[in-house]
Symmetry: C2
Subunit: 346 residues, 2 copies
C-alpha cells in the first residue's frame, strides 16, 4: 500500500493556495488528510474545492503538529514566521514566497532542472518565482545540450501573479474602461507601494518594488534565482519585468547565447521536443505559437518563435509561456513534493 501523507496548505484562500488544493486533488497526491490553514480572519470558514468541503483552521505553530508536507503561499512574512515552526515539527515546508529562496541553506528547486538539490534540504524547500520557473525549465535542456552563456529576458506577466484582487481589478477596469467615469486603480502595480495605475489597456513596467540599482525585486529574483537554480553564479542574466492586462499566463521574450556557434534552430527544437514538462508550439506556417489565453489551466511550459539571431552565431530568441499559477506556483510546488516521495526523501 502506498504511504499517505498529511498535507497543510497555508494561504488556502489565495490565488495560489486554491490552485494547490485543486492540483493536489487532480493529481491524486497521496493524502491521508488535507488541512487548509489561513489567517485568523478566515479561520472557521468553509472552503469548497470540487465536491469537497474543508474547514479552514488558523495557521499557528501548533497547527503543523503531525503534518508531513506544508505548502506555504500566504506572503513572505507568514513564511518567515511559521515555516521554521512547521519544519521544527517535522513537516517538509514547500514555500511559494521569496522568504527563503536566496538562503544558502534552502534548496530552490524546479524538479525538471535541479532535482538533486532536494536531498540537501533542512526542512524548507523554496519554490522559485513564477517567471523564473518557466524560463529555467525551457533553458535547462538547451543548456545541457549546448551550454548557456547569456540570458536577456523581457516579460509579459499576468495580473494573477499579484493575487485575486488584481484579477478583479483588471476585470472591473476592462468592462468600464470606455465609460465616461473611467477606471480606478488601487492594487497594481504593487498594493503596498505609493502609486497605483490602471492595468486595463495599459502595460506597467513595474512588478514588485524597486531595488537600489534601478531593477525591481521581481527582476532581481529572475536574475538571482536563475543563477542559483542553474548553479552558475557567473552566468550573465538580465530581466525587464512588465505587467500586462492578461488574467493568467506569463509570457517571456528570451534572448540566449549558447556555448556553441554551429547549432541550428532545428537542433534546439529537437532538444525541446523531448524535454520533460516542455511543449513545443512552433510552426510559423500555421501561426502556431504559445499564447497565455491558451495555456490557462495547462501544466506544460510552452515554447515557440525559436529563431537564430541574424548577427550572433551563438544567439537564439525564444518565446516562453506558462500558466503562472500552475507551473509557476502550485504545480511546481506539488511536483517538488512528488519528487521527494519518489526519491525517498519523505
Amino acid at each position: 500500500m502506498t504511504k499517505k501523507y498529511t498535507v497543510a496548505v497555508v494561504g488556502a484562500t489565495g490565488a495560489v493556495g486554491t490552485k494547490i488544493i485543486e492540483q493536489l486533488i487532480k493529481r491524486k497526491f497521496p493524502m491521508a488528510q488535507l488541512k487548509p490553514l489561513a489567517s485568523k480572519r478566515s479561520a472557521g470558514k468553509e472552503l469548497a474545492v470540487g465536491n469537497e468541503r474543508y474547514k479552514i483552521e488558523e495557521a499557528t505553530p501548533e497547527a503543523f503538529e503531525g503534518i508531513d508536507f506544508a505548502f506555504f503561499s500566504a506572503g513572505g512574512s507568514v513564511s518567515k514566521e511559521l515555516a521554521p515552526e512547521a519544519a521544527k515539527r517535522g513537516a517538509i515546508v514547500i514555500d511559494n514566497t521569496s522568504a527563503f529562496r536566496m538562503d544558502p541553506d534552502t534548496p530552490l528547486v524546479v524538479p525538471e532542472v535541479n532535482p538533486n538539490d532536494l536531498a540537501t534540504h533542512q526542512g524548507i524547500i523554496a519554490n522559485p518565482n513564477c517567471s523564473t520557473i518557466q524560463m529555467v525549465a525551457a533553458l535547462q535542456p538547451i543548456r545541457q545540450a549546448f551550454g548557456l552563456k547569456k540570458v536577456i529576458v523581457s516579460t509579459y506577466q499576468a495580473v494573477s501573479g499579484a493575487g485575486i484582487s488584481a484579477v478583479n481589478e483588471l476585470k472591473e477596469q476592462s468592462v468600464h474602461f470606455d465609460e465616461p467615469a473611467g477606471v480606478e486603480a488601487q492594487i497594481l502595480p504593487v498594493k503596498s507601494d505609493k502609486k497605483h495605475y490602471p492595468i486595463a489597456r495599459n502595460v506597467i513596467p513595474q512588478i514588485d518594488i524597486f531595488t537600489e540599482n534601478g531593477f525591481t525585486f521581481e527582476e532581481m529574483k529572475m536574475i538571482n534565482e536563475t543563477k542559483k537554480i542553474l548553479h552558475d553564479e557567473a552566468l550573465p542574466v538580465a530581466a525587464t519585468c512588465v505587467r500586462v492586462p492578461v488574467t493568467v499566463g506569463h509570457s517571456e521574450s528570451v534572448y540566449i547565447e549558447i556555448e556553441r556557434n554551429d547549432v541550428s534552430v532545428e537542433e534546439i527544437k529537437e532538444i525541446l521536443k523531448t524535454a520533460p514538462g516542455i511543449a513545443l508550439h512552433d510552426d510559423p506556417a500555421t501561426q502556431h505559437y504559445p499564447m497565455p489565453l491558451y495555456t490557462d489551466g495547462l501544466d506544460d511550459v510552452f515554447v515557440g518563435r525559436i529563431r537564430k539571431d541574424l548577427a550572433e552565431d551563438t544567439g537564439f530568441h525564444l518565446w516562453i509561456v506558462a500558466d503562472n499559477l500552475l507551473k509557476g506556483a502550485a504545480l511546481n510546488s506539488i511536483q517538488i513534493a512528488e519528487k521527494m516521495i519518489e526519491d525517498g526523501l519523505k
Copy 2:
C-alpha cells in the same frame, strides 16, 4: 508672408489618416488647401475634423495635380500604385506604408535622427515603421554620444497599429470577455492571415506575417529600417514583436551595448534630457516611468527604466513608449514635411 501649400491625405478615413488631418490643423501646418482622398467607396462622403467639414475625393492619379505634399496611409498597394503618380505630378509624397522604405532611392527619415537624408529625395520620402521610429529617436542621442554596437528589442504594441477595426475588436472583446458566450476574433493578429486569435486578456507574438527566416515582417522592418536610418548596415539588431491589449501606445524593452564601457546611467539620462523629441520619465523612487495609457495623444518619445546591465559594462536597458499613431506615424510624417519646408526643399 509664409508660403502656403496644398496638401492631400490618402487614406483620410483610416486610423492614421484621421490623425494626420488632426495634426495638420493642430500644428498649424501652412496649408492653402486640404484634400482628403480615399477609395472609391468613401469618395463623396463628408469628413468632419474639429469644426471643419471636408468632402472626400477618390484617390486617382489626376487627384494629385497641383498638390505640394501628399501624405499616404492607405496600405502598401495603394502607395505602390499612386505614390509615383503623385510624385510625377510634382507632389512630395510622404508615405506611411512599407512600400518604399527599403528602396535605396527613397530616404527613410525620422527628422531628429537623419534629417540630412531628406535632401536626397526623388519625390517620395518614406515614414518608418511606428515601432522603429520611437526606438531610433531614443537611441540616436545615445549613439552620438557613446556609440552603439548592439540592439535587442522586445515590443509591447498597441492594437491601433492594426487599424480602427482592431481597436474595435479589442473594445468589444474587453466588455464581453467574462460572459459565457466569450469573444470572437476576426482581425488580429493579421486580418489577411489564416488564423485569428482574441487579443483581450492575451498577448500575440505575431505582428504582420512571417518571413522565411522565422522572424515576422514587423520584426524584419525594425531590424532593417533601424540599420538604414542609422546608416549602419553592420549594426546587430534583433527584434521580437508582440501585440498586447492596449489601444494606443507602443512600449519597447530595449537592451543596447554602446562603444564605451565607462558610461553611467546618469550620463545616459543627461543626454536624453536635452535630446529633441525625447521626454525622460525615469524616477523609480516616485514610480515614474513611461506607460502607454499616459502617452496617448502626446508628441514625445518617453524613456525610462534606464539601468546599467549587471554583467556587461557596455550594456544598458531602456523602456521606450510613444503614441504609435502620432510620433509613430502621423506626427513624424508631418515633421518630415515641416523639416523639408525649413530646409528649403519645397
